[in-house]
Amino acid sequence: MANSSHSKPTRQMEYEKKQHKEEMKQQVITFVLMILFTFVAFGMVIMEVNSYFVIPTLIILAIVQVAFQLYYFMHMKNKGHNMPALMMYGGAAVAGLTIITFSSIIWW
């Protein structure tokens, strides 16, 4: 693309704008879902749902919400995010190990 640095064809610009709009729409849907998850999580605790499943459900809701945040808001679903994914999953693995270690050191 010889002229890419001087002037981009307007059609390309229009196309990109449309693409951005489409992505923004997805992000708003993501936001609505995240709000919904938050309501469910707080609702379960405030209404004192008494069950063994409350804590696992809370944790799953949190993990899904964080995945939304990472993949949509922070664009990890887009191309060119292999390294970020490696960093985050690496970090998450060490994080899990850290939490297990700390709890077992104190409670074993």
Binding site: S7, T38, F42, I46, A95
Partner: protein, 207 residues
């Protein structure tokens, strides 16, 4: 073409934050940093989970926490995450004014969040005499939640500094990566908060 022209093209490329080598490097390095931050917060969460039943008295998580304020704070931070997404949306469309406006809204929501957190801590200290040294639970709680609050404060100062410094420059390929990375940091703060409200407040109330 001079260096200035390269950084100020007539039309912004598709990903202005990754159009220069410096932008690409910042992008990668920042994700590396976020991976490290994940581990840092995990050590604080691990400490909290291990110590939250060592309350040395009646100031237990269940006794202290009020979910109304935490719910409000969650909504503020979650909404501020969306407003910073809007800011980046306008950055990609090369609309500097709108990006600044949405960043300003993000900052206001962040400030409101911080105000609530300060009120919460003061409330615990004055009403319950629940201070940093009260119990192992207290130390772990203030360290974890306070560290997150410190991140909020840092993120706010960062975004405000960028906004003021670039106010007259407008958007170009030199500062686009800076704005993008600050917004990533802001999202990460919300990621950590999701685990805080789940593990500390909600699971604390369930007991």
């Amino acid at each position: 073409m001079s260096h200035e022209d390269v950084l100020n093209p007539k039309h912004m490329p598709h990903d202005p934050e990754k159009a220069t080598l410096e932008g690409k490097n910042k992008f990668l390095a920042f994700w590396f940093f976020l991976g490290g931050e994940t581990v840092l917060f995990a050590s604080l969460f691990g400490t909290y989970i291990a110590l939250n039943s060592s309350t040395a008295g009646e100031n237990t998580p269940e006794h202290l926490f009020g979910l109304e304020l935490v719910f409000l704070m969650t909504m503020m931070l979650l909404t501020s995450s969306l407003t910073s997404v809007y800011a980046m949306y306008h950055m990609k469309n090369h609309d500097f004014r709108k990006m600044q406006t949405w960043l300003a809204i993000t900052v206001l929501l962040g400030l409101a969040f911080l105000g609530c957190e300060i009120y919460e801590f003061l409330h615990y200290i004055h009403e319950y005499e629940f201070t940093f040294g009260s119990s192992a639970f207290a130390s772990a709680f203030y360290t974890l939640v306070g560290f997150h609050g410190g991140h909020v404060l840092f993120g706010l100062s960062w975004i405000v500094t960028l906004m003021i410094r670039n106010q007259k420059r407008g958007l170009n390929l030199y500062n686009a990566p800076k704005f993008y990375i600050a917004s990533l940091y802001w999202h990460f703060i919300d990621v950590v908060w999701v685990f805080i409200f789940t593990v500390v407040y909600l699971m604390g109330k369930v007991g």
